[in-house]
């Protein structure tokens, strides 16, 4: 009996069967090759670049070990750009979450015209970030912008504050712009999370006399936890690359005071052609990204399952 099963398994490993097992790998092969070509290979190459002195006008591109990294870590402008990036990620995304959650809670119950309201609230997500930057540049404009005009109406006299010319208010403007574009994303995701919660457990809690805050704190938030984590991480990962809005809203200014890491690296590469140095800075960004990503993949594994 044992011999027969062995014979059968042996028989099933015919060349034809082997070819069948290879077929799925052939399906994946083109994709893996393209991914190796467009992401893995450039990243490895960039790591090599970051260890060389690659600058315009240089005949040779000598290997300088960690030289670029040492220079990077002793450059105030780099640290500043990292700080601004983290400011957008932490402060911007937190406010997006709070506003989005509040809106989702408010609009989660049945109301007339809800579909239209939700669809309209989502439009900012669908505007090119470059356009968003220019639009808000015009809105904040000291003379021609409606923001100063409206403030003027409220205080009863002409108001011509130059928001984008001062570091603090330029940062505020960047945060407002980022929040404007991405709060709708948080809102939409959290709204769909609230929609699948079971209303019966809330009714039961109400009968037991739970207050609104208690329901929010002990029921809604814990139940929504997986969705909240995924939404925060996806937004955070995206905000780490923050570039387009800086380019068109402030151009990194005044001075270099609103530069994000991506903007700084772009400047190093395109204004100064310091590719080795820029590549080194991009690896610092990758480290932060990897940390976020580890958590995101974990969240995905528990949220989607596999």
């Amino acid at each position: 009996m044992v011999a027969t099963t062995e014979a059968l398994t042996l028989k099933s490993k015919t060349p034809r069967r082997k070819r069948r097992e290879l077929i799925p790998w052939m399906f994946v092969a083109p994709c893996i090759m393209v991914i190796l070509l467009v992401t893995v290979f450039p990243t490895v190459y960039s790591l090599g670049l970051s260890l060389t002195k690659w600058e315009i006008g240089l005949q040779e591109r000598p290997f300088i070990g960690l030289g670029n990294y040492i220079e990077l870590f002793s450059t105030a402008r780099f640290w500043h750009s990292l700080l601004i990036t983290l400011l957008v990620v932490v402060v911007g995304v937190s406010i997006e979450f709070l506003l989005g959650f509040g809106l989702a809670q408010t609009l989660s119950s049945q109301m007339k015209g809800k579909r239209v309201i939700v669809a309209a609230l989502l439009l900012p997500v669908m505007v090119m970030p470059v356009v968003v930057g220019y639009t808000w540049r015009l809105l904040w404009d000291a003379q021609y912008g409606p923001i100063n005009q409206i403030i003027g109406w409220i205080i009863g006299q002409p108001f011509t504050y130059t928001w984008l010319a001062k570091t603090e208010t330029a940062l505020l403007a960047i945060l407002v712009t980022e929040i404007w574009q991405w709060t709708p994303f948080m809102f939409l995701v959290l709204l769909s999370g609230l929609a699948v919660l079971d209303p019966e457990i809330f009714e039961a809690a109400e009968i037991d006399g739970a207050s609104g805050w208690a329901k929010l704190w002990y029921m809604t938030l814990p139940l929504m936890r997986p969705i909240i984590i995924v939404a925060l991480l996806i937004r955070g990962l995206d905000a780490l690359k923050f570039f387009d809005i800086i380019f068109t809203l402030t151009g990194g200014g005044p001075g270099n005071s609103t530069e994000t890491l991506s903007f700084y690296i772009y400047q190093m590469g395109y204004q100064f052609f310091r590719l080795g140095y820029g590549a080194a800075a991009s690896f610092v960004l990758l480290v932060f990204l990897a940390v976020f990503l580890t958590y995101l993949l974990k969240a995905f594994k528990s949220a989607v399952g596999s």
Partner: protein, 275 residues
């Protein structure tokens, strides 16, 4: 207070919040759209004029005359090509990942992680390759480089859609002598066609709005709308009318597309984590 009055107050408060939110989130869009129809004496007036008094299409004409159509064409060609490539290569791989569990759990998650690669981390090598290949400022350069985010996205999304359809139909087809490729192409792919369309629309939207790679790679021949619009922001003078007109041209197609995939918006924007 009676229950009725309380309910009425609560619902009025909800509408008030909705109205406030609509005003905040729509005002900037309306403002840049209106700017396209104002005269310079209206948008360069302090304080500004809100409603254009003599609306005209002069800025749209100007955008057409100064290469706007070419930028629109480039954007369409590049976005469509990279989307089709990502769908073709991506759904084939996604099918193998979902059905045959190629590479177990690690391969799909590795591919997903590539979706988050920051553009600055890969741009310098690409810059050197494209210079060597003489591919700078060409369509194919952007089509290829946009696969860095579109292909991982397409694989991950399509894997999710394939996993949702029952495998029995394909299995009986395989028993009847259908090849695995045939089972994918003739049976599985038609079953996930709504997901395929939604994934494609999202790839198209991401490519359409992309800016970093576009400004790094293109100069004049292959500029997309996002790079084209930057030309109107001069150091000396800002052509707000043209910026407004180009903004409208860039926004409206995406608005329409987002309505078409409304059912998949949450899923598409959260990479399938929330359905």
């Amino acid at each position: 207070m009676g229950l009725r009055t309380r309910k009425f107050l609560a619902s009025s408060a909800r509408y008030a919040v909705a109205l406030l939110a609509l005003a905040f989130f729509l005002f900037p869009i309306v403002w840049i759209m209106l700017t396209a129809f104002k005269t310079p004496s209206e948008f360069l007036k302090s304080p500004p004029v809100w409603i254009p008094q003599t609306p005209s299409l002069v800025y749209f004409e100007h955008v057409i005359q100064t290469g706007g159509l070419k930028a629109l064409g480039n954007t369409l060609i590049i976005s469509t090509s990279t989307t089709l490539l990502a769908l073709l290569i991506g759904s084939l791989a996604a099918y193998a990942l979902a059905r045959y569990r190629v590479g177990g759990d690690n391969l799909p998650f590795f591919i997903l992680s590539q979706r988050f690669m920051p553009p600055v981390a890969v741009i310098f090598p690409f810059l050197l390759f494209f210079k060597a290949l003489r591919w700078m400022d060409t369509h194919q350069a952007l089509i290829l480089i946009y696969l860095t985010f579109n292909l991982p996205y397409a694989v991950w999304m399509m894997r999710g859609f394939f996993m949702e359809i029952p495998r029995e139909i394909e299995e009986s087809a395989l028993v009847d002598g259908c090849s695995p490729l045939g089972a994918f192409w003739r049976i599985a792919l038609p079953l996930v066609s709504p997901g395929l369309v939604a994934t494609g629309v999202f790839c198209f939207i991401f490519s359409w709005a992309e800016f970093f790679f576009a400004i790094a790679i293109t100069k004049s021949q292959a500029v997309t709308l996002s790079v084209y619009i930057v030309n109107f922001f001069g150091k000396m003078m800002v052509q707000w009318g043209e910026i407004g007109a180009t903004s409208i041209v860039s926004m409206v197609p995406l608005f329409i597309l987002s309505f078409l995939v409304q059912r998949y918006l949450v899923r598409g924007l959260t990479l399938g984590a929330v359905k």
